[in-house]
């Protein structure tokens, strides 16, 4: 894995993007873990911030990673875009050790990234952030007509669904015919 350990908020891994600790910080030094997305940019995140993600928290608990091991082998999330992972990491850092208020002003605002964000948050199992993202998606159709909802949520029309179904059947038929021909060839 070509860990670059640079870029965005984690340009220098030694200076993580975590929120500053309060004056009454525990004596035990906080442990940090490393994650990277599709762009291979490594983000340094505190264990406290990662508590929000049930997936990462489970990985840490089950694998028993030490900080050194974690540094050498960042958690790879190849299915998540770098900028999306950055948003998620920022949110986790901002909400380290505290519950999300009902109206959270620190949440990602980019509507154009909402779909990718929803998928990433669902994958990383961050319940509170997922609820917020789903709320945003639900709010998009407030007071909208069925035609507007169809456009906003990209719901195919009945005709489009029928055409897609026909196409899928045709493809499945071709594949089945190909397999039969291959099997006949093998038999010879």
């Amino acid at each position: 894995m070509s860990s670059t350990e640079q870029g965005t908020s984690s340009a220098a891994p030694a200076e993580p993007t975590t929120a500053p600790e309060s004056a009454a910080a525990p004596e035990v030094p906080e442990s940090f873990y490393y994650v990277h997305g599709k762009d291979k940019v490594v983000h340094k995140v505190s264990a406290g911030a990662l508590q929000h993600s049930a997936l990462i928290h489970g990985m840490i608990s089950n694998l028993g990673y030490t900080e050194e091991q974690a540094k050498a082998n960042p958690f790879p999330f190849e299915n998540i875009d770098g900028d999306i992972l950055q948003m998620v990491v920022d949110w986790c850092n901002q909400h380290k050790g505290k519950p999300t208020p009902p109206e959270d002003t620190n949440l990602p605002k980019q509507k154009e990234k909402l779909f990718d964000l929803v998928l990433a948050v669902n994958y990383l199992e961050i319940k509170e952030l997922l609820t917020y993202c789903c709320k945003q998606v639900a709010m998009m159709v407030k007071g909208k007509s069925p035609e507007e909802i169809r456009e906003i949520w990209m719901i195919p029309t009945d005709a489009e669904d029928e055409a897609a179904e026909k196409e899928a059947k045709k493809r499945a038929g071709k594949e089945a015919a190909g397999e039969t021909a291959a099997a006949a060839g093998d038999a010879k």
Binding site: T131, A138, K142, K144, S145, E147, M154
Partner: protein
Amino acid sequence: MPVPILCTPFVVLSEIICLLETEEIVAASFCSKKMKRFLKCYYQQRKPLEWNIYLKDYDSCGRVHIHKLDDEYHDAVLLAEHVSELDESEAKPIETNGYKRGFSSGLVSLYFEDRVMGTKMIVDYVTDLFNLDVYGLIIDTNGIWAIDWISRRQEKMLESFELVKNPKCNSSSDEALNYVLRDGDEWNGDYSIQRIDGVKAVIDLDIRHFVMTVLPPKEII
């Protein structure tokens, strides 16, 4: 920016649906057959038992409302009106088999040549979508047809009934009340009526408006 919700995992889609208002769910169900099928399956698995469906048929308009037990208000989710009520200057209606579909103030309205048939259709649509029976009926004297129709279409009896005064019509109001109270016994000037399951209600006829709400038996309270 569009979000292709049908491409999201089931758990995400379920969470989004859970956050929608009832009228938004009904509006979304008109997007496509596939969407309606999905919503129907969703509510078959998670029957919203805390929701009560009401049919309101008065002032020449049929409405289906949903009352959530934790909410004070009945929210209208679907309307049926006569096609003459359609104001085509606002937005061009969508023409489908047997009716026209319009949308205003966040509500889907269907316009029919035969409004009673249309009202029956919207009740069938909503009860089928949410997998629920009609809980209550609020009608004026022109909506008397709905009593027998609902009794025939579902096994569960109506839990709430309200007859509202129709300001345009006086002549048939006695006739309508007589129909509603046809099996009742007169008692001190009031009527005592009893459902098949034994639940009784006493109705004061000094006014041309009564409300009857059936409460659960004492042992359940």
